[in-house]
C-alpha cells in the first residue's frame, strides 16, 4: 500500500508539472483562470482514474487473499481426507496367515512320542506325511477406545476345526508402566511361548516346548506387566488363569488354578547388538491329567496324574545386525532352558472314566529338564540359514506303584526314564518379500522311546495377507 501511495503522489505531481510549464510564458488573468480551470479538470479526471485504479488494486488484493485462503483450505481438506483414509484402512487390522507343508518322514508320525515324557497333548507340527495344509490363522486387532485394545486370533485347522488361539483385551491407559491383559492369551513365560508358530525360524516347536508345554502355553486368565522406568529394559509380569491346558488340567474350581511370574531384562550393546534375557516360573496343579499308554500286554490304558507341576524357564536372545540395519545381513542366537518338578499321584488305567481317579494309584515324582539352542543367519537379502539343537533329560521318575510292586514297571513305557532325547535341525529359507516365505528344513530326530532315528525333510510356505504383521524382537 505504501508504494502505491508514493506512485499516486508522483503521478499527480508530474501531471501538475507538465501543465504548469506554460505558466511562465503567458500571464494574462483570463488565461490564468482558464489554466486553473483546466488544471482542476485534469486533477478531477486523474482523481477519478486514480480512485478507479485504487479500487481495482484493492479488489485484486482481496481476490489474491481469498485464493490463498482457498488453497490453504484445499490443502487442509486433503490432509484431512488422507488421515481419515489411513484410519479406515487399518481399523480393525485384519490379517490372514496361509501355510502349507510337504513332509517326508522316515518313521510313522502317528506313533511319535518323546521318550520319558508324558505327552503334552499339543500338536507336533507338522503332523503328517506328504502334502498337508497347516493351520490358517485369522487375526483381527484394533483399539476398542482410548482405554482398551483387543485382539482375536483363530486357527483354522486342516481338519476343519476352529480353535481360538488368543482372544484378549489389553489396557492402554493404566500408565506408570502397567499393562493389564484379560482373556485367552499366550503366556509371557519363556521367549518363544508368546510367538505364533508361523513366525518361528523353524517349521516346528523345539522339543522342550513340545515336552514341557505341549506347544505354546495359552490360558484363560489375567496378566499384569510392569515396565521399570529405567534405561535398562526391566519388565516384570504375573499371570493367573484357569489352567485349561497341559501341563495343567481343567479343574472346575473357583479362583485361579495356574499362576506364572516372569522377569525380562534387555538392552542394546552398542549400535549393532541387542539382547533380551528372561527367567520365568509356571505353577499348575492338574487334577485329572490323563494320557494314553500301553500296558505290558500291549493293551491301551489311560493313566492320569494329579498333583503339582512346577516349571522354571530361562531364556536368552541375542541379535546382531551391522549398524543396526538388519536388511542385508543379520544374525540371531536364541536358547531356552527348562526345568520341571512334578509331584503328586499317578493313577493306573483310568479308562473306566475320570470320575474315579485310579483304581490303582500311588505317589509319583519326576524332575526333568531340557534345552535348545538355535542360530539363524541372514547372509544376503531374502536368504537365511539356521541350525538348531534340541536335548531333553527325562531325569528320574519315582513311580510308587512300581516301587511297591503293585504294577510292574514295563506297564509304563512312556515314563521309562534315563533317556536323553535329542534332535538336530537345519533350515534354509527364502523370503521374496516381507509377506512371504518358503522354507526347507531337515531334522535328524532321536527322541522316540524305541530309539529309532527319524529323518525328516519338510518344505513349507508361509504367506501373510492383509494388515502388516509385527516385527517382534
Amino acid at each position: 500500500m505504501l508504494s502505491y501511495a508514493l506512485a499516486r503522489a508522483a503521478l499527480v505531481g508530474s501531471a501538475l508539472c507538465v501543465l504548469a510549464a506554460p505558466l511562465a510564458v503567458a500571464a494574462s488573468d483570463s488565461e490564468l483562470a482558464e489554466i486553473r480551470n483546466e488544471i482542476n479538470k485534469v486533477r478531477e479526471a486523474y482523481q477519478t482514474r486514480i480512485e478507479a485504479l485504487e479500487k481495482r488494486l484493492n479488489d485484486a488484493e482481496a481476490k489474491a487473499q481469498s485464493a490463498q485462503k482457498t488453497a490453504a483450505q484445499a490443502e487442509a481438506a486433503a490432509v484431512g481426507v488422507q488421515s481419515r483414509r489411513s484410519q479406515n484402512s487399518g481399523n480393525p487390522a485384519i490379517s490372514l496367515i496361509l501355510q502349507g507343508t510337504y513332509a517326508n518322514f522316515s518313521e510313522d508320525p502317528e506313533t511319535r512320542s518323546i521318550a520319558g515324557f508324558v505327552p503334552g497333548g499339543g500338536e507336533f507340527f507338522p503332523g503328517s506325511r506328504g502334502f498337508s495344509l497347516a493351520e490358517s490363522e485369522l487375526n483381527i486387532a484394533a483399539s476398542v477406545d482410548p482405554y482398551f485394545r483387543g485382539l482375536f486370533t483363530a486357527a483354522l485347522t486342516p481338519e476343519d476345526e476352529i480353535e481360538i488361539e488368543e482372544a484378549w483385551i489389553q489396557s492402554l491407559s493404566l500408565g506408570a508402566g502397567f499393562t493389564a491383559k484379560a482373556g485367552r492369551f499366550f503366556s509371557g513365560i519363556g521367549y518363544l511361548n508368546e510367538i505364533h508358530q508361523h513366525a518361528f525360524d523353524f517349521v516346528d516347536f523345539p522339543l522342550a516346548y513340545q515336552a514341557f508345554l505341549g506347544g505354546n502355553y495359552s490360558d484363560d486368565g489375567v496378566q499384569l506387566r510392569w515396565l521399570a522406568p529405567t534405561d535398562l529394559f526391566i519388565e516384570v509380569g504375573t499371570e493367573a488363569g484357569r489352567g485349561r491346558a497341559f501341563p495343567a488340567s481343567d479343574r472346575n474350581k473357583n479362583g485361579a488354578a495356574s499362576g506364572a511370574v516372569f522377569v525380562h531384562v534387555g538392552d542394546d550393546l552398542g549400535i549393532s547388538h541387542s539382547y533380551r534375557a528372561g527367567l520365568s516360573y509356571l505353577h499348575t496343579a492338574p487334577r485329572e491329567r490323563s494320557f494314553d499308554d500301553t500296558d505290558s500286554l500291549g493293551n491301551p490304558v489311560v493313566n492320569a496324574f494329579r498333583g503339582n507341576s512346577r516349571l522354571w524357564l530361562a531364556d536368552l536372545v541375542y541379535k546382531y545386525a551391522p549398524d543396526g540395519n538388519a536388511q542385508v545381513k543379520n544374525f540371531k542366537l536364541q536358547g531356552e532352558y527348562f526345568w520341571r518338578h512334578e509331584s503328586g499321584e499317578l493313577g493306573f488305567d483310568d479308562s473306566a472314566g475320570s470320575a474315579q481317579f485310579g483304581a490303582l494309584r500311588d505317589a509319583y515324582a519326576a524332575r526333568q529338564s531340557g534345552w535348545y539352542v538355535q542360530g539363524v543367519y541372514q547372509f544376503m537379502p531374502r536368504w537365511r540359514a539356521g541350525v538348531r539343537y534340541d536335548r531333553l533329560d527325562s531325569g528320574n521318575a519315582v513311580i510308587g506303584l512300581v516301587q511297591n510292586g503293585a504294577v510292574p514297571g514295563d506297564n509304563f513305557p512312556l515314563l521309562v526314564t534315563g533317556k536323553n532325547p535329542q534332535r538336530a535341525s537345519a533350515m534354509l529359507d527364502f523370503s521374496p518379500s516381507e509377506f512371504s516365505r518358503l522354507r526347507l528344513q531337515y531334522a535328524r530326530d532321536e527322541s522316540r522311546p524305541d530309539g529309532v532315528t527319524d529323518d525328516q525333510i519338510i518344505l513349507q510356505y508361509i504367506m501373510s495377507l492383509g494388515a502388516h504383521g509385527a516385527h517382534r524382537f
Binding site: R85, S86, P146, A228, N325, Q327, V328, S433, A470, R472
Partner: protein, 299 residues
C-alpha cells in the same frame, strides 16, 4: 536445616522444571525437535540414518525409552507399522498412546504423494495413506514445525511463549534457507534419475527431478538381478544422469547398475546423520542439493 529445606524445595520445583522427554522415531524428527525445543527438551532418537525405519524391531531398549517419554514424534503413514504399535502398547505409558497429545504423527499434517487408488500387495508394500517419506520436502518440514511448536506449547504450557518465539525464529531462518536451496537447485530441474526405493519422491517433487525407475522391482521387494538387467536395457534407451540411493540402502545393486550403465551412483544422506555434512536439517538439504548438483556437473 537450610540445606534440607533447599533440597525439599528442589524436589518440589524439579518436576516443573523437568525437560520434555522426547522419543523421536526417525533422526529428522529428532533434529526438528532440537531446533524447536532447544534446551527445554531431552531427545532420544530411535533409529539412525543407516537403518531403514521400516525394518526396525520392537527392541527392549525402545520399550524402555518409550516408557518414560512425554512425547513420541513419528512419521506415521504406516512407516513404523511393524514396530511402533508394539512399542506404544507395551510401554505402559498412557501419555503416548495414539489418541493422546503425547503422540505426534508428522505425516498427518501434510499432503502426501502417491496415495494409492487401490490397495494390492501385488504392487509391493504400498502404504494406504500414501508415501510416508514426507520430510524430504523442506516446505513440509515448515508445516510440521508449526504443528510441533503448538504441541510443545500444549504439553509444556509454562514455556509456551518460549516455544512460540523459538518456532517463529526457526520459520524465518528456514524460509531463507529454502529460498537458497531452490536458487542453487535450479539447474536440477528435469534431471532424470533412478532411485533405489520410493523414498525420494518428495525431494524429486520439490526439485522437479524426473524419476525414471526404482532399483526395487516393487516397493519393499529387494532388487533382483532380473529387474536390474531390465533397467540396464531401459537406461540404454533413456539414459539417467544419476543412480540415487539412501545411506541405509544396500550399495551393491546401485553399484552394479552404475558401472554397467556408466552413470554415477550417488548416496544421499536421506536424513540427519546420513552423511558427514548432514549434521542437522540445514546440512541435510545443503548436502542433498550439493550431491545432486555434482551429478549434473559430472556430465
Amino acid at each position: 536445616m537450610n540445606k534440607f529445606l533447599f533440597a525439599l524445595l528442589l524436589l518440589y520445583v524439579a518436576p516443573v522444571q523437568a525437560k520434555l522427554n522426547i522419543f523421536a522415531c526417525e533422526p529428522e524428527w529428532g533434529a526438528l525437535a532440537q531446533e524447536l525445543g532447544a534446551d527445554r527438551v531431552d531427545i532420544y532418537t530411535a533409529t539412525t540414518a543407516l537403518q531403514n525405519p521400516h525394518y526396525i524391531e520392537a527392541r527392549p531398549s525402545l520399550l524402555a525409552k518409550a516408557r518414560r517419554a512425554d512425547l513420541v514424534i513419528c512419521t506415521g503413514a504406516e512407516l513404523e507399522a511393524g514396530w511402533l504399535p508394539i512399542v506404544l502398547t507395551q510401554s505402559g505409558n498412557a501419555k503416548i498412546q495414539a489418541s493422546s497429545p503425547g503422540f505426534f504423527e508428522a505425516s498427518s499434517f501434510v499432503v502426501k504423494l502417491e496415495v494409492p487408488q487401490s490397495l494390492d500387495r501385488a504392487q509391493g508394500d504400498v502404504h494406504a495413506a500414501g508415501n510416508p517419506h514426507v520430510h524430504l520436502d523442506p516446505h513440509n518440514i515448515a508445516k510440521i514445525a508449526t504443528k510441533l511448536t503448538e504441541r510443545f506449547a500444549q504439553l509444556d504450557a509454562a514455556n509456551a511463549g518460549a516455544y512460540q518465539a523459538q518456532g517463529g525464529a526457526f520459520q524465518e531462518k528456514w524460509r531463507d534457507a529454502i529460498a537458497g536451496w531452490e536458487a542453487r537447485a535450479a539447474p536440477l530441474k528435469g534431471l532424470p534419475i533412478v532411485t533405489y526405493h520410493k523414498d525420494m519422491s518428495y525431494l524429486i517433487n520439490w526439485l522437479g527431478l524426473i524419476e525414471l525407475a526404482n532399483l526395487e522391482p516393487k516397493p519393499g521387494v529387494p532388487p533382483t538381478t532380473g529387474h536390474l538387467t531390465d533397467l540396464l536395457e531401459q537406461l540404454e534407451k533413456k539414459p539417467a544422469k544419476a543412480i540415487v540411493r539412501s545411506a541405509y540402502n544396500n550399495p551393491k545393486p546401485a553399484q552394479w547398475l552404475a558401472e554397467r550403465a556408466r552413470v554415477p551412483a550417488i548416496v544421499l544422506p536421506f536424513t540427519v546423520g546420513g552423511s558427514e555434512q548432514a549434521r542437522n536439517l540445514y546440512g541435510l538439504f545443503d548436502d542433498s542439493v550439493a550431491r545432486l548438483l555434482s551429478a549434473t556437473n559430472a556430465q
